[in-house]
């Protein structure tokens, strides 16, 4: 089987079937005609290109594809004058929910989609689709002794809302189906018409735990669209914030996973370490979660000498105490019994859905947007991307612990490069004019894709943010299959997909 390179395939299309879109940066965008789109679907059946995003526009559908062999990205579009398009869901199942969302939000219907139930639209909006308010048609399960457990949208803890429909046989889960969309806030529509420095506040609230990464993705997309150059010190400060966010989230989740196995000691220790991290971030940047610190063109906060000293101290404390966390975790057979062999997500599934972050890396997919395509300042820093093969809860815990270590190393290098606050600016003005930009940024959960089109007036005409959770939620349904109901919290927390990031 030949594996065509994405760029070669695009260039090989007849000129009548494709049209390059000017001013789309930094990767190309091509508008395909109906024949070109059909050819794309046929080629995707055998090519190993990964689906990185699919979103609707006014009467057009866009798909972002990644060629893992060449490490290249491209956006392909198809006009939908009759508001419909042939589905990619048969050849890329990860497209199914994105296509359902495009139907709900943009009225673009996948004419032959494998699943055309409403997704984000629950029939509660002024412009809701016809029949969206009808009772949701959960996939049926037949068999003697099979019973249902409906859970949510309001859950029994301090977590986000979503509905899980379990079909069980005794204690064993036969099928889990999630229904999401409860926290849909209409972020993309709210962004349209706003100047980038306002719209980025919405991007920073796509998923609060990833506020730095989401804002960074949006800022980079805007900067790509207009060709802005970010001051070097701002580039380093952005990375400092991004790594602090990664460390804080991994610490919180490692503790929470242990807590879901009723091992409260690690929860107490990890939540204390997370608190120290947030306090250091608050002291350094003026906000514990570092919200609204990244702006298009740079950053809005500098790191002074006391702040840098605080982060120095944090690195030492975390290094010392993290070692003890690992010792405790590794020495508790009762805890390992719960995490090992639980919630396995097979490498084939991870590949098929291009699942990012620790979900992918726990099952052989080593993709990390900081390495490839890479963005400053990471190419000049030394770090490793840990990879495991087995894909169980334990592998995801291990990846997270190792990533904390890597991020501490990155912080150390970044602080060494930063030096004293200098005279050089922290924020470059955005050149006037419009354009289209795409960015891929590695959040703690995985790669976040941001796409933006700025109008000639410099305002956002259309923006799209694809949270990593889109490709992780479906895999949670596979992870829990044949596990017991009582292990669902462990599986769920080890994936920790975002509801808000997904629901948009």
């Amino acid at each position: 089987m030949t594996r065509p390179a994405l760029d070669d395939w695009i260039q090989g299309l007849p000129a009548s079937a494709r049209q390059a879109v000017p001013a789309h940066r930094p990767v190309p965008r091509h508008l395909l005609d109906a024949a070109g789109w059909a050819e794309l679907i046929a080629t995707l059946a055998t090519a190993d290109w990964e689906l990185f995003g699919l979103w609707g526009d006014e009467a057009a559908i866009h798909v972002a594809l990644h060629d893992p062999g060449a490490g290249t990205l491209a956006v392909l579009s198809r006009a939908c004058p009759d508001q419909s398009f042939p589905s990619l869901g048969h050849v890329r199942p990860s497209a199914i929910r994105l296509e359902r969302a495009a139907a709900d939000l943009y009225g673009l219907i996948s004419s032959d989609g494998p699943d055309r139930r409403p997704w984000l639209d629950h029939g509660k909006w002024p412009h809701s689709r016809l029949f969206a308010a009808a009772p949701y048609d959960f996939l049926p399960v037949d068999g003697a002794g099979v019973h249902q457990i409906p859970v949510g949208p309001v859950h029994a803890g301090i977590i986000e809302p979503g509905h899980f429909r379990f079909h069980c046989n005794g204690e064993t889960v036969v099928r889990l189906e999630a229904r999401l969309g409860y926290v849909h806030k209409g972020i993309e529509r709210l962004m349209a018409g706003r100047p980038p420095f306002e719209a980025i506040k919405l991007a920073g609230r796509l998923s609060g735990d990833s506020t730095v990464a989401c804002a960074l993705a949006f800022a980079r997309a805007v900067e790509a669209a207009v060709g802005a150059a970010v001051p070097p010190r701002a580039v380093l400060l952005r990375a400092v914030m991004a790594e602090l966010e990664r460390i804080a989230n991994h610490l919180g989740d490692v503790g929470a996973i242990a807590n879901d196995a009723a091992f409260a000691l690690l929860q107490a220790e990890c939540s204390a370490l997370r608190e120290l991290t947030l306090r250091a971030a608050g002291a350094s940047f003026g906000h514990r979660l570092m919200m609204d610190r990244i702006v298009p063109g740079g950053v809005d906060a500098d790191l002074d000498a006391p702040g840098a000293a605080g982060l120095d101290g944090l690195i030492d404390v975390l290094r010392a105490r993290l070692g003890r966390v690992v010792e405790v975790y590794d020495a508790k057979p009762s805890l390992l019994d719960r995490t090992m062999n639980t919630g396995i997500i097979a490498p084939e599934l991870v590949q098929r859905f291009a699942a990012g972050g620790y979900v992918g890396r726990a099952a052989s997919r080593g993709f990390d947007a900081r390495k490839s395509p890479g963005y400053p300042p990471y190419p000049e820093l030394a770090f490793e991307v840990p990879v495991r093969r087995y894909g169980d809860v334990h592998s995801r815990v291990t990846i997270r612990i190792e990533e904390i270590g890597q991020s501490l190393g990155l912080l150390r290098q970044l602080l060494d490069r930063l030096g004293e606050p200098g005279a050089d600016g922290l924020r470059a003005p955005l050149p006037a004019g419009g354009g289209e930009g795409l960015a891929l940024v590695e959040g703690f959960r995985g790669d976040i894709l941001a796409w933006v089109r700025l109008g000639g007036d410099g305002r956002v005409a259309r923006a799209h943010l694809r949270d990593p959770s889109w490709f992780q939620w479906p895999l949670l349904e596979a992870a829990i299959e044949n596990n017991i109901v009582a292990d669902f919290p462990l599986c769920n927390k080890s994936v920790n997909a975002s509801y808000s990031g997904h629901d948009l």
Partner: protein, 175 residues
């Protein structure tokens, strides 16, 4: 079994209706209610948290209340899993159209007396999400709010200060 369930579903509950209040007893009770409410609630509050559309930033800081630094349980405040066990409904986020019904149902499932605390700037009036087709508005567009804690998100200290103020209010207004 099914026959029994069907009969119970169709029949009226066996629980007897409450007797009409005795006027003399009522007067005596009124004097005692303050004390009784204080004894019942004491310095203790059970909180049921509902995310009605937040970005999850508020949830992160509410979680932090349980860490060893803030240790909210030392004040007698604890988070409970069921609205049936709750005195306080702590709501975050702008209320989305898709969550409004679930929020209202959670509120209705709580026994009286009950209080509602709205946490975060979007819980006040929708905040940055106000005006969206998918957002109903602030929390008080769906359930009555007793206390609002500002912040985006409120820090654990701000949350704690707000909840302690509520605790004092509950103890004082127990009657």
């Amino acid at each position: 079994m099914w026959k029994l369930i069907a009969r119970n579903l169709l029949a009226r509950p066996l629980t007897e209706p409450a007797p009409p209040p005795d006027e003399a007893a009522l007067a005596a009770l009124a004097a005692d209610v303050d004390k009784a409410a204080r004894a019942r609630l004491g310095r203790s509050l059970s909180i049921r948290q509902v995310d009605a559309g937040s970005c999850n930033g508020c949830e992160l800081e509410i979680h932090a209340l349980n860490n060893p630094y803030y240790d909210i349980e030392r004040f007698g405040i604890r988070f409970v899993a069921s609205p049936r066990h709750a005195d306080v409904l702590l709501v975050t986020g702008p209320v989305t159209a898709n969550m409004a019904e679930a929020l209202k149902r959670t509120y209705d499932a709580m026994p009286d007396p009950k209080w509602v605390v709205a946490s975060g700037d979007c819980a006040r009036d929708g905040g940055i999400f106000a005006g969206s087709y998918a957002v109903v508005g602030g929390v008080d567009a769906t359930v009555p709010v007793d206390l609002h804690i500002r912040g985006c998100p409120p820090t654990p200290t701000q949350l704690l200060a707000g909840l302690l103020a509520l605790l004092r209010h509950v103890a004082r207004a127990g009657g």
